[in-house]
Symmetry: C2
Subunit: 733 residues, 2 copies
């Protein structure tokens, strides 16, 4: 018994200890720890974006759908204001609704321009006795079978006034400001003549305006082979991608965008429209008309006076002359267009955010085309549609975005960004408060050479980051990304590691977002031509705005839709980052850096500024302050308490309105319809961007204008103030 | 042993059980339950305002401090641009800094107007032979001892041009639009004559403008006893509050506010200023000058032609005539003013919010005065100062506001709201993003009769609620509140339970906040005269803008500072609610209701609208939609998850920008410097508000103007669109 006692004690102690242990465990786990609603709520609100979603995007992306969309939407001409555009809108609406997206058609009634009734616009050449030697073709040849060729609108320039003008010709090269200056310097008079300009380099509307300002009575626009073919390469469409002689580039010639009858407000059913006379002030006052190079050959071949400078010589097989028709010939333009009110149809889909439903990323591409528009805009539209389909699919599999996504198919872009302008004007109130960015698409695949992007500085980083996340469409090895690919093909600024991103300029539907509402915008595409391993330098793809933008063209540019797939995934990834990142991926340091670089380019005016008492030093000082403020602001972000949803929101609210610091209600001094001090298009080329568009306009004024320097002084004050304001806004807390 | 076995078992079981129990307890409490940081954080973020703070306000309020501020700031004239105003700014800065507030002086360099050098502005009367019969007094008599009477600026109208004009007189009553119409209808020609107008009813600048438009060559403004004394009561200052015969009302006569040299941007050291000629276009083109009724007596007494209508007769002891001087007498005005650039000093203090530092309530009152300004603005400034002191004190005792409070002492208000305009222009970027409301003070205690408020509809409820929380300054019983008191003295609109709140109009420093930036504003005071139990009807207090606004006057109006204390507590309570309420106290339903009422007042134009194709029905429809949207929006607030700080912020963000829905960048059609479609001042009276100021301007145009109805059609489109936009903004989520 004695020997068993210690054993018993050991047993009892062990048992008690076990019981205690069991109790501890029971007690511990029986205590409710409410991974309580507070914690759950905060976890939800503080969730960051998840880059792994890209794997799903890659899995879902379907070139078959891209092909189907392109094929379906290029069967018949998609001209704005025609019944087909309503059918196309409903086609998209149906698809989106089938995919589970909340979508609707939003209609506006707008003023569009068409060749009048049965009239054929034409340019003719007459001999001294009045006999017609030549008349421009009324239609481009049918080269690939078409379902309804009769629906193809004849070549014309939208909003050209009607008119019959007759006279001598003057060749104005690309019709840029510097071209007209060169003519003037050479003593060549444009006044009273018909200007003939080749397409390219700048927006056609600017060419017409410069011609008008020089006293021309009409403008003929033509596509020179130098800019639309490759020397020695005879693969014209449909045998290749070069422009055939009968191809004509259509296009509008207005410098004020949106519906011409409702400037500053939307074209709703209750909207006031001024009379025709009032509206016509917004159009060129002289007729203009586009022709192909087969026709231009007759006109340029009749010119005999003043051999052109070397760089003005195009590629037609003749010696280009500045003016003077042989044998007292005359040229006649007979243009009859009419402006009519027609309904247009935007299709708008929305995926609501679950954490910040009142913050929206807008993604849009136009749908209307001059003819079939296979490249412009249907490559873009197909990418928009595929991106929308993929987002619908990940949404249906349970993904919920932090912010809202609004997806838009615009109508009547070709008429001067009409669909997007009217929608932005209509939705300005909430857009200015709640839109974080606008992502634009247009010709998504206009070439096969390189990725290219036009983006405001705030979004540069986001674009770079998205391209870095994607594989190269043409990989040499497994480390090649879209980014490395792009970098290897891009001109880079010396000293900067990244491929070049272009200023946003105008020319597509981002314009009302950035230049009216101040919403940071980006617009990317695959562009440039590489043929048989050779890079072909050209401004745009040769078949732009011609009848030959057909399905077959896309199949030549991007045969397996490798590029379309890449650009789709790029947009999926970019939009994912924009809607899901806890902190908006907008970089103010980059913006400050770009402003500093642009200001350095004003150095050349420094002496003029000094003489004319322009407060240039203060402008420099404001930029330095912004640079510092931006640096400190981003340091603050780095040290932010990401657990506090209001701190995060406050930072995002600042980021979101950085771009709006440069919106001035009165607009630019000479172009009040553009309100962005930095990101409005250049006054010399509507397609292009420039550092300080308002200042550039004023610097172009002749020194003899007494208002020139006072206006510059005032504008520099406003620039300086806007930069200081932004700095103070970032510093403020 | 056998008997002990069961006992042993019981013992072992009990022991184990106890050990287990001990274990459970140990385990349970050893588990960390973190009343975790998440919960604490959410509790902090979701904190609502605490009305009990009012008890502290009541405890702290100190009429001794109010008295000290009034006494200190009325010792010497506080004219803008003089050295004393810098001293006064530093006085306030010192007090605020002593109280622990973060404060600074913000300086602008602006164009101010003064009588020129040693010249004395005057109005004289000559007989036919050119002998001077009378000249207006150069100074008001000194009636109460003054420390530095030589610093008192002679009576003048700021920004009146210099000039010598000579001619006949025409009496234009109050110089309102209807007064000039009546003269015209009666065949009395104003053209080529000097207009003599009595002060009152409308802003003096409008009187001068109407006179100028009628062809007058000069304007004499005088204070008629009818509007500045009480019949049979001889208690003139300093024996009472009535205007003595020598008292003259000073004041500016410009219709565009802010620094006249920097329209649209702040007057910083680097700001561009146009030349003098350009700036002078913004001033009246004819000289004007104010006189007292002693002097007016000579002029009006010399007039003989056309007895005035009954309601034009003033209270001077003579028969008023419309025109015609006896015995070929003539009147001469000799005015020499100069415009000079001078520094002005705003003092700005800030208490940063702890939860939403980026949301700010701005509270301001001007500090400058024409002379001593004891009422205007020093009663207001003393209330501002006492409110600031109380907030500093509760802050120092541990209270932390949710949002930020910015407290502003404005300079140069008397010159056309210059200090506040320049500051708003300077700070526009963050104000438009981050300001939630502006609370204005000016003459805080201009009378002893009733509480009165000019407030935008969004803030009506907040004003009512704050008055309900406060005891009556004159209680009949313990249930009397400031609200019941106010209601018993106010005209109420039939059918509405609340005392009347006036439209905000202009006339004080809220103008740039509401009419340029769209920040909901409110402006309250104690006003109206009750003398010996009798209510005296008058537009404004009789000594307004005269030398006699001295400390002694305030002691007569509010002897024990009962009213000043009440108005201080009102502002403490209102600001507390605005900065601390979890949901901003802005009521969109009220706004919608006011718009509906205002639109009903357009009914009288219905026939005209129909004939001229104005889309009136759609305007009505938009209002109905807004009403519904506002109702649903407030229902949503009522059912909001107050636990979710982002949901709360999203609602507040919408509320905060409701007012901005009515800001249009292009401004009103005829007055682009005002940008608010609803809350801009009336074009007929700068002091007043009106339902649709832009529309009112256009409806005043003669029907012969071919632009009238097209402009109205366009403006109604813009009104309709802004109302629909707000409705959509509220509906959107």
């Amino acid at each position: 018994m004695n020997s068993s006692k210690p054993r018993k004690i050991v047993f009892i102690v062990s048992l008690s200890f076990l019981a205690f242990l069991l109790g501890v465990i029971t007690g511990y786990f029986s205590r409710p720890v409410h991974k309580d609603s507070s914690q759950q709520l905060l976890e939800k609100l503080n969730r960051d974006g998840d880059w792994r979603l890209l794997e799903q995007f890659k899995e879902y992306v379907d070139t078959g759908y891209i092909d189907k969309v392109i094929r379906d939407l290029t069967r018949r001409p998609g001209l704005a204001g025609t019944p087909q555009q309503k059918i196309n809108a409903e086609y998209i609406l149906d698809l989106w609704q089938q995919q589970g997206l909340r979508a609707e058609i939003v209609q506006y009634n707008v003023l569009l321009s068409y060749p009048k009734g049965n009239h054929t616009n034409k340019v003719s050449l007459y001999d001294a006795s009045g006999r017609e030697l030549f008349t421009s073709k009324s239609h481009e040849k049918v080269l690939v079978e078409e379902e309804s060729p009769e629906e193809v609108v004849q070549p014309f320039n939208a909003y050209s006034p009607s008119g019959i003008v007759k006279g001598d010709l003057v060749y104005v090269n690309y019709g840029r400001a510097e071209d007209f200056e060169r003519l003037k310097a050479a003593g060549i008079n444009v006044s009273g003549k018909i200007a003939i300009a080749r397409y390219g380099k700048i927006f056609r509307g600017n060419k017409v305006k410069f011609a008008e300002d020089s006293g021309a009575i009409g403008v003929i626009l033509y596509s020179d082979p130098a800019d639309h073919t490759s020397p020695g390469d005879e693969r014209y469409f449909p045998g290749g991608m070069w422009l055939p002689g009968s191809g004509v580039q259509r296009g509008n010639v207005v410098l004020i965008k949106g519906d011409q009858s409702t400037q500053g407000y939307p074209s709703t059913n209750y909207s006031y429209r001024p009379g025709e006379e009032e509206i016509s002030k917004r159009f060129p006052s002289i007729p203009c008309h586009p022709i192909g190079y087969e026709d231009a050959n007759f006109l340029l071949g009749s010119m005999v006076s003043g051999k052109v400078w070397q760089d003005w010589q195009g590629s037609l097989n003749l010696t280009y002359h500045l003016t003077g028709l042989m044998d007292n010939r005359t040229v006649l333009m007979d243009i009859q267009n009419e402006n009519v009110y027609r309904p247009i149809y935007n299709v708008i889909a929305k995926i609501s955010g679950t954490i910040e439903a009142d913050r929206a990323v807008i993604f849009g591409c136009h749908r209307d085309a001059w003819v079939y528009g296979a490249v412009d805009p249907i490559t873009g539209t197909s990418i928009l549609m595929e991106t929308a389909r993929i987002f619908a699919k990940v949404y249906n599999s349970g993904w919920r975005p932090r912010r809202s996504i609004v997806i838009c198919s615009w109508d009547a872009e070709e008429y001067g960004l009409v669909g997007s302008y009217e929608w932005v004007e209509d939705n300005m109130k909430w857009l200015q408060n709640e839109a974080v960015t606008y992502v634009n698409l247009d010709s998504g695949i206009s070439g096969n050479y390189t990725f290219s992007s036009r983006t405001v500085p705030l979004l540069h980083d986001a674009v770079y980051k998205s391209t870095m996340a994607l594989p190269s469409p043409y990989p040499h090895d497994s480390t090649d990304t879209l980014y490395t690919d792009w970098r290897s093909r891009s001109e880079t600024r010396s000293g900067l590691p990244h491929p070049k991103i272009h200023p946003i300029g105008s020319g597509s539907d981002h314009t009302p977002f950035i230049a009216l509402a101040g919403i940071p915008s980006t617009y990317s595409e695959y562009t440039g031509y590489i043929v048989d391993g050779k890079v072909i330098p050209m401004d745009d793809y040769p078949l732009y705005h011609t009848r030959y933008e057909q399905y077959e063209l896309v199949k030549m540019i991007d045969p397996g839709y490798t590029l379309a797939k890449t650009i789709t995934l790029f947009h999926c990834e970019l939009i994912r980052e924009l809607v899901d990142a806890r902190i908006l991926p907008l970089n103010v340091r980059t913006y400050a850096g770009v402003i500093v670089v642009n200001i350095r380019q004003l150095e050349k005016f420094r002496a003029d500024f000094k003489v004319n008492k322009v407060e240039y030093a203060e402008l420099l000082a404001s930029t330095e302050r912004l640079k510092t403020a931006a640096r400190i602001f981003h340091q603050k972000i780095a040290h932010l308490d990401h657990n506090n949803p209001l701190q995060v929101r406050m930072i995002n609210d600042k980021l979101q309105s950085v771009e709006r610091a440069f919106i001035v209600p009165e607009g630019l001094p000479l172009r009040p319809m553009y309100r962005h001090l930095l990101q409005s298009p250049s006054g010399l080329n509507h397609y292009g961007g420039t550092g300080f568009p308002g200042l550039e306009d004023l610097l172009e004024l002749p020194n003899s204008n007494p208002e020139k320097w006072p206006q510059i002084r005032k504008h520099v004050t406003i620039l300086t103030h806007s930069i200081y304001s932004l700095a103070k806004f970032l510093e403020n807390d």
